[in-house]
């Protein structure tokens, strides 16, 4: 997706020079392979630092809440859905934003590539439309990008921005038939004991660093429930009940709002697949209420509303 860079810079330069915006939010090239750094270009001289490739998995909506200035934001499909969510939830105003839409072909799963080449030092990762090229000490491998996409990107059905002011390119084709919930269904098939053990194993490496929470654009509360002191009802240790309680409620708070952007998993330093929880809720909400997060500026998230004939099969 590097081919978008000139267009991004062109738009950004124009917007900044014409003072249509105060800043352009995007990425700059990272200091290590497969990492880029969220970056705010504030003047035309910053514009050439703006960068784009398949390593821009951090959701930039996370940098928008409660901002006062007028900002242009480089946004892929999921980012724009979170921007929609932000607008609906009063975190930012639509007229404050100039959305530079990215037709996204998916982000590279850095963790997967690192694991594939464990023990060998990767020094550079390049990409073209079809492939990812990994280079390093005596290393040069070409892998089709579809094989190393982040899991959320490989099942993504909204690659293109849902709102934008300007697109950097033509929309990409979006798959119309993807089963997003294979893994969820497999877990649903387990019995309760298996499920508990499964999640216990998944969450036990958690170090409570809250990178999942903090990388999530939905988590903008001034004080998170885990930090509440009266009552302080979730312990702060690595006790498994506390850890699972944290992840349970974090996911619940994202219910109907999560766009499956994958920031949480990307940010997690210990590789916890916490999307298994948010995606479960996404599946339930789709099935029960036919709702998809971040698609419309006119709709509140599903827990903020109801229909008189909502399903109640579980209620006696």
């Amino acid at each position: 997706m590097k081919e978008y860079i000139p267009k991004i810079r062109e738009i950004a330069r124009k917007l900044l020079e014409e003072e249509k915006v105060d800043a352009v939010l995007g990425f700059r090239k990272g200091t290590i392979p497969m990492m880029n750094e969220p970056f705010m270009a504030r003047s035309a001289s910053d514009v050439d630092l703006l960068y784009w490739d398949s390593n821009c998995g951090i959701n930039l909506a996370n940098y928008l809440h409660k901002r006062k200035e007028k900002i242009a934001v480089v946004a892929k499909g999921c980012d724009t859905r979170n921007i929609v969510n932000h607008i609906v939830e009063n975190q930012v105003k639509r007229d404050q934003l100039y959305i530079i839409g990215i037709p996204c072909r998916g982000m590279i799963d850095r963790r997967q590539i690192l694991a594939m080449f464990e023990g060998r030092e990767i020094e550079e990762v390049d990409e073209d439309a079809e492939n990812v090229i990994i280079k390093g000490d005596g290393l040069s491998e070409t892998i089709p990008r579809v094989e190393v996409l982040q899991e959320n990107c490989s099942i993504c059905i909204h690659h293109n921005p849902v709102i934008y002011d300007e697109m950097v390119d033509e929309p990409v084709e979006e798959p119309d038939h993807v089963d997003r919930y294979d893994d969820i269904k497999a877990i649903e098939e387990m019995d309760p004991e298996e499920r508990y053990q499964y999640f216990r194993d998944i969450f036990s490496p958690c170090i409570r660093c809250y990178a999942c929470r903090n990388s999530c654009p939905l988590c903008y509360c001034p004080t998170c429930f885990v930090d509440e002191s009266r009552p302080q009802w979730v312990g702060k240790s690595i006790d498994i009940t506390d850890v699972m309680t944290f992840h349970f409620l974090r996911a619940f708070h994202c219910a109907g709002r999560c766009t499956d952007c994958g920031s949480c998993e990307r940010a997690c330093p210990v590789g916890i697949p916490m999307r298994l929880l948010t995606k479960k809720l996404e599946k339930d909400i789709r099935e029960l209420y036919g709702y998809e997060a971040g698609m419309s500026l006119d709709e509140r998230p599903p827990l903020d509303t109801y229909r008189p004939d909502d399903p109640e099969f579980f209620i006696k």
């Binding site: 877990i187 649903e188 309760p192 004991e193 499920r195 508990y196 053990q197 499964y198 999640f199 216990r200 429930f225 009802w233 312990g235 240790s237 690595i238 006790d239 498994i240 009940t241 506390d242 699972m244 309680t245 349970f248 409620l249 996911a251 619940f252 219910a255 929880l277 479960k280 809720l281 339930d284 909400i285 029960l288 209420y289 599903p302 827990l303 903020d304 509303t305 109801y306 229909r307 008189p308 909502d310 399903p311 109640e312 579980f314 209620i315 006696k316």
Partner: protein
């Protein structure tokens, strides 16, 4: 030593299900004595945290009951609650809480009979599934 007896927390809305519990009393209906009622104004008041906290403090089962849809004293509270509950129950079960431990019902203040039926059913299912195994807070396994 007495046999294990389940501990079940019942969050009842003040206007309907709590009233049904009172009416069951007035009617002298008998039911198993293992529920501990926490009165809340409306099922809409039920924060999912309460359910997690109940398990955390060792409840073997949780039962939440309110007014029938359309009969909410606060007009719409139970409609919102219903969505919250659907997801809450689903996610709890997904993470390993047995479905037998978490129950929801609509019981109006006139339905003393239904109240007793539901208490009995809840008690039976919780009894069957046995003491809570996970999600209760114990001393952490740390150095």
């Amino acid at each position: 030593m007495k046999d294990w007896e389940p501990k079940i927390v019942a969050f009842l809305c003040n206007w309907c299900s709590y009233g049904a519990a009172d009416l069951a009393g007035v009617s002298r209906f008998q039911y198993p004595p293992y529920i501990r009622v926490i009165r809340i104004p409306c099922t809409g008041r039920l924060n999912p945290k309460f359910v997690l906290a109940a398990f955390r403090h060792g409840a073997d089962g949780v039962w939440i009951s309110g007014c029938h849809p359309g009969d909410c004293h606060y007009l719409e509270g139970n409609y919102y609650a219903r969505r919250r509950f659907a997801l809450l129950k689903s996610l709890l079960e997904y993470m390993g809480i047995e479905p037998e431990r978490i129950h929801f019902s609509w019981v109006s203040s006139a339905e003393a009979g239904k109240f007793v039926e539901v208490v009995s059913e809840v008690t039976e299912t919780v009894k069957k599934v046995g003491p809570l195994k996970y999600f209760m807070k114990k001393r952490p396994e740390v150095e």
